[in-house]
Symmetry: C2
Subunit: 196 residues, 2 copies
DNA sequence: TAGCTTGTTGAGCGTTGCTCAGCAAGCCGG
DNA sequence: CCGGCTTGCTGAGCAACGCTCAACAAGCTA
């Protein structure tokens, strides 16, 4: 009796691009439940139905892998936040703020994972996070029609931290209405740039 | 010829308390250069001149160890920030703010490590961080003579995030004078609680 | 000195990041 | 149909690390 194991499905051979995309996608799916750096190669490979070795064919080190995942997450968020072309300058900031709150409300877990992973000590991940913030501050300063000097950058970045923290805890425990939250954030930002 | 290795110094036997303290101290020394969670048992044990096994005698798991280290770091900072008894309420906030900036200036690396480690995905470490923030917000609200409702807590916590971020980048690149920085931070805080 | 407590160790196991030699799927020219 | 080439892919295995366990030994007390 050839009571053999379930017939291994014929080995599937993908193009390099497909495989890479699949692996990054799996990483993104795992992000909400696992801090990026704690993704295990075993788990990812298992989900992809490939051997550990293959993952190292596409990403030389584990770090290179989860950096790619982080970058993908950042790109998703940026794509969602950036104002569509043709928006008036005034509406740009309001729109981004509104979409940001929406983003946090919708992808609470994933977003927390992204922000957390950012702080998580790994310089590579932190760099991706910084890049994202830099791109956002750039857009914000342009939309506000403010010159972009070091000082203003610092203030806007700190305001991002303020916003991130407040929106995060607000999503957990809504102590005010959504419009009020938006107005408050906007107001703090406006007051900040008034000073010199 | 007994060309033996250097005569092992007679084994030193410490009290449990001493050993624990030594291990935590070593962790604190390593903090500035290594994210807490990436401390390796090997390294710590080597520095302490003991075997890996002994560390597990005092801390059941690695996580328990680095949580203890994190808590020690938090306690050091709190001890430095909390206003000495006999300070007037008004001076308390100003004093804490001033000492916080000084703390960041002096222990830049360590403090960054603490803040980073906090975000780093590990729930236990995050909890220690949250506890610290909660204690600080408590002191702040009392000093400001403000009722401590959920909403105000959120706002003050978000202001902490603002402060942390701004002081951090300011220490890297001082775009204003120290007094101006302090005034700005204080001003933002004051304006926040005015609303409602 | 015997005996107890407890600080301490070494050997070893399972997991995980990573390497390397080589297999095999799919396409080509003949 | 065949040989050969490219390249996606695998399995065995190593080193590092977290963690366990049985046993040793330092120092106290009776």
């Amino acid at each position: 009796m050839a009571a053999s194991s379930p017939p291994d499905p014929p080995r599937l051979r993908r193009t390099a691009g497909d495989r890479r995309a699949q692996l990054v996608r799996i990483g993104l799916e795992l992000l909400p439940t696992t801090p990026v750096q704690e993704l295990t190669i075993d788990e990812v490979a298992r989900r992809a139905g490939i051997s550990r070795s293959l993952l190292f064919h596409y990403f030389a080190t584990k770090r290179e892998y989860y950096t790619a995942v982080t970058r993908a997450a950042a790109d998703l968020m940026l794509e969602h936040l950036l104002p569509p072309p043709g928006t008036s300058r005034e509406e740009q900031v309001a729109g981004m703020l509104d979409r940001y709150v929406g983003w946090v409300e919708t992808f609470r877990e994933s977003h927390l994972a992204f922000v957390r992973g950012a702080g998580g000590g790994d310089p590579w991940v932190a760099e991706v996070y910084e890049e994202t913030r830099e791109r956002l501050v750039q857009v914000a300063l342009t939309a506000l029609e403010l010159p972009d000097d070091a000082r203003r950058r610092q203030l806007v970045l700190a305001w991002f931290a303020f916003t991130e923290d407040l929106v995060g805890s607000w999503a957990d425990q809504p102590t005010m209405g959504r419009p009020e939250l938006l107005a408050l954030l906007r107001d703090v930002l406006d007051r900040l740039d008034v000073r010199t």
